[in-house]
């Protein structure tokens, strides 16, 4: 049997466009099932708003199974809400209590301008990936499985980094608005694997420097790791920092080039 939460108050950031000033508005939720996900609760609220002839709240969402990285939301001052290792779409109302006020705000970062209400433009992440988050080898047809032997711990570490879904919670949670966790996950994912070695040093250099153009700097608070819905480790930031330094030395060694 599902229980219901009653008398919730949602304080939601409303902003009609990128240049609007925006403000919080309060919306009552009389009753909602504790089995509803957070986004389903917003759906229910939007149905009500539409019925009343008011404008629905705009928020990012897509797969709703925690793997696409589209959903966001700063819920009660925490990126993706109070549950660790969980994206907003997988957060359920049973984590909240009847009578509670829930404050919902969009990600705040200069590189993530608000499009409308709770929706932000995370294209700055695309810029970082475009700078080096790929392998340029012409691959042809799909190679046979296990053609390149990879040690299990290496494959596991690479997979841990590759888990990043690019939702931007790290930037949102960081007191400095830094994207080091995202960038380091994207760098490490390829830099750990044999296939990524050819471009290892140019990749880390290009991605770190592109990151610098948009985001703040890492001061090792650790908030990103705590907010990450995929529990990506701070160790990847250390790895990126090390690879970046090595890259700076190694690229200098490419002598006899004009």
């Amino acid at each position: 049997m599902s229980n219901h939460l009653t008398n919730l108050t949602l304080k939601i950031w409303r902003q009609s466009g990128p240049n609007d000033k925006g403000a919080f508005e309060s919306y009552p939720i009389a009753s909602i099932s504790d089995e509803a996900s957070f986004l389903e609760m917003l759906d229910v609220l939007n149905e009500q708003l539409i019925d009343q002839g008011r404008e629905a709240i705009v928020f990012d969402h897509d797969c709703r199974e925690g793997i696409c990285g589209t959903c966001s939301l700063m819920i009660d001052g925490q990126a993706h809400g109070p549950q660790r290792g969980t994206a907003t779409c997988q957060l359920h109302m049973r984590k909240f209590q009847s009578g509670q006020e829930i404050v919902i705000e969009p990600w705040r970062a200069t590189a993530f301008p608000i499009i409308k209400d709770l929706m932000v433009d995370r294209a700055a992440f695309d810029r970082i990936v475009e700078a080096g988050g790929f392998i340029t080898a012409p691959t042809g047809g799909a190679p046979d499985a296990n053609l390149i032997p990879i040690a299990k711990p290496v494959a596991d570490a690479s997979m841990d980094a590759a888990e990043c879904i690019g939702c931007g919670a790290c930037v949102a949670a960081c007191p400095n608005g830094a994207a080091n966790l995202f960038t380091s996950a994207k760098v490490s994912h390829l830099n750990l694997l044999p296939q990524g070695q050819a471009e290892r040093w140019s990749r880390v250099e290009a991605m770190v420097e592109t990151m610098d153009e948009h985001f703040g700097s890492c001061t090792n608070h650790g908030e990103c790791e705590a907010a990450c819905p995929k529990n990506i480790s701070l160790d990847f930031i250390a790895m990126m920092n090390k690879d970046y330094r090595k890259a700076k030395f190694k690229n200098r060694k490419l002598i006899a080039q004009i």
Binding site: K11, W13, P18, F24, M74, D76, G77, Q78, E105, R108, A109, T110, A111, P113, D121, A123, A124, R127, E130, A131, G132, F134, T136, A173, P175, N176, G177, A178, S202, A206, V208, E209, T210, D212, E213, H214, F215, G216, S217, C218, T219, N220, H221, G222, E223, E225, A226, A227, L234, D235, I237, A238, M240, N241, K242, D243, Y244, R245, K248, R252
Partner: protein, 260 residues
């Protein structure tokens, strides 16, 4: 490089973000200034100058422990510092070389911190309009600027007190005597407000070190599952040793353990 360029050209710039995948090729700057121009590079500078300052703070604390051996030992140690490497270098030259290194480290540490702060402020031009609920950011990590500023102001006062002597025992019963390091320390710490200020400043230093010593490993990329948990223990241990050692001096003077 070529592949990256082609890929970048195929991608249209979209949305309000104006960055492009491939920045126009910049003229190669001097290696170190090129490195320092990036945030990660500035963090290396923070870490390396931090290590230099850690070394100083530790040596300074250990050296001052000679206070407990009496005036003769303490002043002898102070003179030893001036006579460091004396047959090789003239008197005080080695000391001044060390001082210049420290001054450079302090200036770089502050400049890097300042420019990173400016960068971070720009990275979130519109603050969160509701209260943040921080999960793991420690008091120390969030007050690095404040504790750093307290320590910087303290160091200036500390130099004026015990190196230049301009604020030493003002209004007290003693006066600054150049060369009598032991007496100067005692006369300064006999003033209760001064002793309290020293203690508070050293606690701020300890808080700064608690985050800084751990943080420098991350910044330098010195990460290994074998020793990662020891980074925190090292930070706690180092900060504790420094604070306990330094705070003991004004307390010892006020308690009469160290006196003329």
């Amino acid at each position: 490089m070529k592949g990256r360029l082609q890929m970048a050209q195929a991608i249209q710039s979209r949305g309000p973000v104006t960055g492009t995948a491939v920045a126009p090729k910049r003229r190669r700057r001097f290696f170190l200034s090129d490195l320092y121009s990036t945030a990660v590079g500035k963090k290396y500078v923070m870490a390396i100058t931090g290590i230099m300052l850690l070394g100083f703070v530790f040596a300074h604390m250990v050296g001052n422990l000679k206070m407990y051996l009496g005036a003769e030992d303490f002043n002898h140690y102070a003179e030893f510092l001036r006579e460091l490497l004396v047959p090789i270098l003239p008197r005080t030259v080695a000391l001044w070389l060390l001082r210049f290194g420290l001054i450079a480290a302090v200036l770089l540490h502050i400049h890097a911190a300042y420019s990173l702060t400016v960068m971070n402020r720009k990275a979130r031009s519109v603050k969160y309009q509701s209260a943040r609920d921080y999960q793991v950011a420690s008091f120390a990590s969030r007050t690095m600027r404040a504790t750093g500023l307290i320590v910087a102001l303290f160091v200036i006062w500390h130099l004026a007190d015990l190196t230049w002597g301009t604020v030493n025992a003002v209004g007290g019963d003693g006066t600054f005597v150049r060369g009598d390091a032991y007496g100067n320390v005692v006369r300064s710490f006999e003033r209760v407000p001064v002793a309290v200020f020293y203690i508070l400043a050293n606690i701020a230093l300890g808080v700064h070190l608690f985050h800084g010593v751990w943080s420098l490993f991350q910044s330098m990329g010195w990460s290994n599952p074998r020793f990662n948990k020891w980074r925190r223990y090292l930070a706690i241990g180092f900060a504790t040793i420094i604070v306990v050692g330094n705070v003991s001096f004004p307390i010892a003077v006020l308690a009469g353990i160290v006196g003329e």
